[in-house]
Symmetry: C2
Subunit: 263 residues, 2 copies
């Protein structure tokens, strides 16, 4: 090895140590917990350079299960100053890249709406109990199946200031129930999402009005389903595509929404 290469390697090593000191404030750890008899494992992220309690954000995964995508989102939220928990809705290690398996697990979870809401609430309560979290200032965001889940949290009365649904399936609220929740709702929706009809969206927004819920919806031109997930294209499913601009804009809209609900 020449001294030139040795110098380069040394510089790289110095850079790695430096960047872990300067930017490595975000801590990430797995948190085992359970709901009923199901063993779950979430991922908690926070910035340990911040002192004192701060708002807690629950991150609910796509139908694939809790994978690197939600871990990254939790880290990004931690970098913004929040404590984030990427929650597990299926069970420890239940992650797949096969649509058939994902659909099966999702349907097992959503078949019983009360159980679905309760499992999300278990994650929220775990996050609320964290000593770094201001338990009165909570929010939840979710992607795809997770977007539907955070809507269910609103319907079920979960104690959140607000929720953000990213390319969620926008489930209707139960018509027989009065919703007791002042949580604000932000819907981030791709115009070209083939899994939702305009009729369904209209039914959904009218139902939110009927329930007296505070909502606004951003529609991103040309964006397809899963537009926020950089890995979306690799699943090879028609209508599921990443769109960088809609991803950036929707993240900025979420940040603005958090400023409003946590002010």
């Amino acid at each position: 090895m020449t001294s030139y290469y040795r110098t380069v390697l040394l510089l790289i090593a110095v850079f790695c140590v430096w960047s872990s000191v300067v930017e490595g404030k975000v801590q990430v750890t797995a948190i085992p917990y359970s709901h009923g008899e199901v063993l779950l494992e979430g991922v908690l992220a926070w910035d340990d350079a911040i002192e004192g309690k701060r708002p807690g954000i629950l991150v609910v995964h796509e139908w694939w299960g809790l994978d690197d995508y939600e871990r990254t989102r939790a880290e990004q939220l931690a970098a913004l100053g929040y404590v984030a928990l990427a929650v597990d809705m299926y069970g420890k290690g239940k992650v797949t890249a096969h649509a058939g398996e994902a659909k099966q697990w999702m349907q097992q979870t959503t078949a019983n709406v009360e159980m679905w809401q309760a499992r999300a609430l278990a994650g929220l309560q775990l996050l609320q109990a964290d000593p770094k979290v201001d338990s009165a200032r909570m929010a939840a965001i979710g992607y795809c199946f997770g977007g539907a889940t955070v809507m269910q949290m609103v319907y079920g009365g979960a104690p959140v200031k607000g929720i953000v649904s990213f390319h969620g399936s926008l489930p209707l609220p139960p018509s027989s129930l009065t919703i007791k929740n002042s949580a604000k709702i932000l819907i981030a929706h791709g115009e070209a999402d083939p899994f939702l009809t305009q009729d369904h969206i209209t039914q959904f927004t009218m139902a939110l009005d009927g329930a007296g819920l505070d909502w606004h919806m951003v529609i991103y031109g040309g964006a397809q389903h899963s537009f926020t997930n950089p890995s979306a294209d690799q699943y090879g499913i028609k209508g599921i595509r990443y769109q960088k601009q809609a991803d950036r804009r929707s993240w900025a809209h979420m940040k603005l929404f958090f400023e409003e609900i946590f002010q």
Copy 2:
């Protein structure tokens, strides 16, 4: 008068002088100009504490004509650091509170689309020529009829980085024409605006897609037509109402959009 009241009055006077010094940097002046044979008068607003060139924002009025509402918006934009021109689309002094008259003036302006686009462009060029304005960094916002006008500016190829339509009527682009404009489009729309059908909105967004335009739309739950105008209710027209929350949110969305297009 007791010395107590004298002291209070003195304190109020001191506060007024202080606030005019601290916050009174925004300057406002009327600018006469013409388009063809029509004499117009716009209102220019800027912060004279700022040095150097900055982006210019055109503000296009509702169908009532250029009144205090648009003047206030121009001042607010100046306070944000922009140079703003509240443009006049009808003619000097043509302001009304009567819907019949407003409708007549609006229709006179919109009957000839080329003339409509050219009159808006005349305002934009006036603003571009201002020595405080960075003529390469322009945007336009418009309310109601003004929202339709800023869409026409995009269709007509006006040199803007972006436009924001607040409760605009969302005119369709001309189907026979290729649109040569990379302007980005933000649509702020009230869910309960009775003057637009969902069919029209769908036609509009599909036409934007067809024209290859970059757009996103925010729909504010429960907001009616003219939701940003605090004077909306005084016109006594069904479906026209101010909504404070949608007003605040749409202004914040506009600011975020400007950060994006002027970065």
